[in-house]
Point group: none
Chain length 151, copies 4
């Protein structure tokens, strides 16, 4: 019997890399963003509200990262299942109403698809939010690969 | 006038039987689950998060068992009535948002259909969650029948 | 730069060992308990409400384990600092009111004092709750040592 | 009649300077910290959880910054007034329980003592948390003065 498990999770350094990549992307799009990074256990690791980002999008960004790290898939992937008539309709009421199915939350997955953390963005449209989050994912995947290459 | 009522409810021993049966089923399906058992008064009796089960499914599993023991039917049975236009639309906002209509919560009923408790599972699809909960129900019904046979 | 950290946490098997040890201790004391085990990230791993344990102690037990795993010390250790006049007075209002300074929550620490999880008990006096939680800690430490001995 | 007001508040660039100064101080003290920066309207601007900082201190750090920017004084300054018998006893229950009187939250004040934002830190003792927050304040005041000198 194994009394413990080893869980891998993003470091603060990695979170900063993600935030910077998201900020750069948001700047290039001309849309200031709220950007949240959570660890593999759904807890907030880093956050940045760019000048001009929406105040009511602060908690939306954090909830997107929370949901993506807990459920391990992008928040934009919830479609028919969570609509009226779908088997998961009402899931947004769970987890103290923090479970969100609005696009813009993406999981950071390791080599074996294990969850390492997540990024959530909010202020633009869900599609724009997701595009900015993806820039953070891309930067982290590049960082993870370069670290593995050195081993 | 009867000044009191006798309420029957699952014991902790029975809850453990249910958890083990659900865990065995989940293992056979290859899907680690959050499994919650509530008593006939909706209160948490036992809980197990199998290694690898989703963190954001902890409260969903507990809410499913809560709802199934309180309303005394499976959480998958809510259809048109809770959708927009239905007479119970918005019921998910009740009970501090803990009322859920996502499948995977099943009531444990006694010989006369009285409520004894409930099981709620979460991490897979609602159908998978329900399948795992059903394994717990089956184990409990077998236990209840064998106990009655001895009387 | 290390993009990830490795975090160790209790397994479900270990959580069951802890619950059983707490239950045995509680039985020997004649006090049915609510027993909660959290992982190193404060999330609920396992729970048992023994027959007769107080219903309003369910969430107290869970909050004790939550607090002990997040703040990494026993919940009984908070004394003058959290009383009126103390520098941490009011800490119980934090974390959505889940931070508790009532004895009965104990951290599970690894060989290098890293947090692996926590146990929270409730129904008796805080001293009794702590005694029961300690039985779970003892069982886990024995398990951890025997696992290390095999390596 | 002036129909509008101009409100000055920290920028995201300034928030990053504060976070970095706090991180450097925390590293020199050997205590990983949760560090939150809020704007002059109490809203979260930036956040960093250093590797190893306490999970249950995430919301405490954010609440300290929230309180310091809203009430415009350090959270360590609340003494007799908030203790039992004091005229502000119970203030910790206000603002959705987010008002905290635990040291470690400091306001960022402008030349005319107007509020510009706040810093909240948590994981160490309240005195240590305040020391780390002060490092962020010092860095911001230096930045503010150098900016004014250039005008």
């Amino acid at each position: 019997m194994a009394p413990t498990l080893k869980v891998e999770t993003l470091s603060q350094d990695a979170a900063k890399v993600a935030i910077e990549a998201c900020e750069a992307k948001a700047r290039s799009m001309g849309i200031p963003m709220n950007i949240a990074v959570t660890d593999s256990a759904t807890h907030l690791l880093a956050f940045s509200r760019m000048d001009g980002a929406k105040i009511t999008s602060i908690s939306i960004a954090i909830d997107k990262a929370f949901t993506a790290s807990g459920h391990r898939i992008g928040t934009h992937l919830y479609k028919e299942a969570v609509w009226p008539g779908g088997p998961a309709f009402g899931i947004g009421n769970s987890n103290g109403n923090r479970f969100t199915t609005i696009g813009g939350g993406l999981p950071v997955l390791g080599r074996n698809k294990e969850i390492l953390g997540a990024i959530g963005c909010s202020t633009g449209t869900p599609a724009q939010d997701q595009e900015v989050a993806q820039a953070g994912i891309d930067a982290l995947q590049k960082l993870l690969q370069s670290t593995r290459a050195k081993l």
